[in-house]
């Protein structure tokens, strides 16, 4: 998965119409709630085999941080 596709997937996870970028602050997005965090966990697990814990989300501030976890 390339970075563009990653961003498209995040658009789907967040179910937002706002244009996303890697450096935007997730906490500014109203859609960044427990449901989208759960969907992120499933996304990282299914596509990258990466396990996420709840405390990981304390350090995830941007989409770039999620991309780093995914290793892309």
């Amino acid at each position: 998965m390339d970075r563009n596709e990653f961003l498209t997937q995040m658009q789907d996870i967040l179910q937002t119409d706002e244009e996303l970028s890697f450096d935007m602050n997730l906490d500014d997005l109203e859609e960044w709630d427990s449901l989208s965090k759960m969907a992120t966990v499933a996304f990282l697990d299914s596509n990258f085999g990466v396990k996420t814990t709840f405390s990981d989300f304390e350090s995830i501030k941007t989409i770039e941080d999620i991309a780093k976890k995914a290793g892309i």
């Binding site: 179910q15 709630d33 427990s34 449901l35 759960m38 969907a39 966990v41 499933a42 697990d45 709840f54």
Partner: protein
């Protein structure tokens, strides 16, 4: 390792009875601060729609008794031929004795019928079946398995992480010796380190009931519960589900020498639509082979969700050839288990409201 293979045992029939009060998610916007966008998202993603709660005076034993009575009558089974009653519940009528004795009394079973309870939640149907199969394997001819809960009574009504999820119901299953039945395979697992992920912290003997344990406290998200209400760390439970369930599904397929293609139906515990579909997607199971929307109709029915899914979605499927069915339950404990077995001429009763009455919509 808890793996078992049984021969000559089959499920003769199943039934399910629901609490008498229908709750409609759309009528409860207060759980989500009347935020319509959030409500729509939850309905779409998690599958919240309707569920059934029992009235304050209706208990798990009541629901299971009606399920048992309906099933035994339909199958024309003489109660003297039932060698044992197993009740699986976490919301019994009494701390002691167990619900199996309540049913034994109410349905007037003979003294020759053994009766006992097992304490399990969402994995309870598979654990109960496993126990029943072991008993038949050791010489019994017929076992009545009852599973069910009234978790709406443990959930705090002001806790949106619990109250909108649970539906109350009781199921009955008859398992019996059948010389024509093929092999059945079971695998059971547990992880006691997950006790804190889901529990009712107080009210039993480790932390007995006091004014303090009954005090309702708001957590950081504004959900209100006491220590005598059920608590679930949804995130931990979701992670557990995602990491362990597709894995167990593959293991039971391997153990039973079957492939995904051989299985006619995958019946998973109906935790919610999102969890079931996420497991199915990860395990690459086609959705048409697996009920996944039972939660939307009945809520999370704990140990009764698997029989409920069968009675709701698959009740006319077992009439011609034998169908291979994979069942899998997972939840509190942590505890999870799966089985692969054949179902043929299995009588599945249509879900019914307690009391046989029309539902009351709330």
């Amino acid at each position: 390792m808890a793996k078992s293979i049984f021969k000559n045992i089959s499920i003769k029939g199943l039934s399910i009875v629901l609490g008498e009060e229908k709750r409609v998610f759309a009528n409860e916007p207060e759980y989500y601060n009347n935020d319509e966008e959030q409500l729509a998202k939850l309905k779409k993603m998690i599958g919240f729609d309707t569920r059934y709660w029992s009235k304050p005076e209706t208990t798990t034993a009541d629901l299971c008794r009606q399920a048992a009575k309906n099933l035994l009558e339909k199958l024309n089974i003489d109660k003297n031929s039932v060698d044992a009653i197993i009740s699986v519940t976490q919301t019994p009528d009494y701390y002691m004795p167990g619900n199996a004795h309540v049913i034994h009394r109410d349905l007037e079973f003979p003294k020759e019928t053994a009766a006992f309870d097992m304490e399990f939640g969402c994995s309870g149907y598979v654990y109960g079946l496993w126990t029943a199969f072991m008993m038949i394997n050791s010489g019994l001819k017929r076992v009545l398995l009852l599973t069910g809960d009234t978790l709406s009574k443990s959930a705090n009504k002001k806790d949106r992480t619990e109250a909108p999820l649970f539906g109350d119901s009781g199921s009955a299953t008859v398992i019996e010796y059948n010389e024509n039945a093929g092999a059945s395979y079971f695998m059971l697992k547990s992880d006691g380190n997950g006790i804190e992920s889901m529990l009712q912290p107080a009210g039993a003997y480790r932390t007995p009931s006091t004014d303090e344990t009954r005090k309702e406290i708001a957590d950081k998200n504004g959900n209100i519960r006491s220590q005598e209400n059920i608590y679930m760390n949804g995130f931990e439970i979701f992670n557990f589900t995602l990491s362990e369930q597709p894995k167990l599904m593959n293991e039971i397929l391997e153990f039973s020498n079957t492939t995904k293609e051989d299985i006619d139906y995958f019946v998973l515990h109906q935790a919610n639509v999102y969890i079931v579909e996420t497991i199915l997607k990860k395990a690459k199971i086609p959705l048409e082979k697996a009920p996944s929307k039972i939660f939307a109709k009945y809520g999370n029915q704990n140990s009764a969700s698997i029989p409920s899914a069968i009675c709701e979605d698959l009740r006319d499927k077992f009439n011609d050839r034998a169908k291979k069915v994979l069942m899998q339950g997972f939840g509190i404990g942590l505890s999870w288990g799966a089985c692969v077995l054949d179902m043929k001429d299995t009588v599945c009763l249509q879900p019914e409201i307690y009391g046989g009455a029309d539902e009351i919509q709330i």
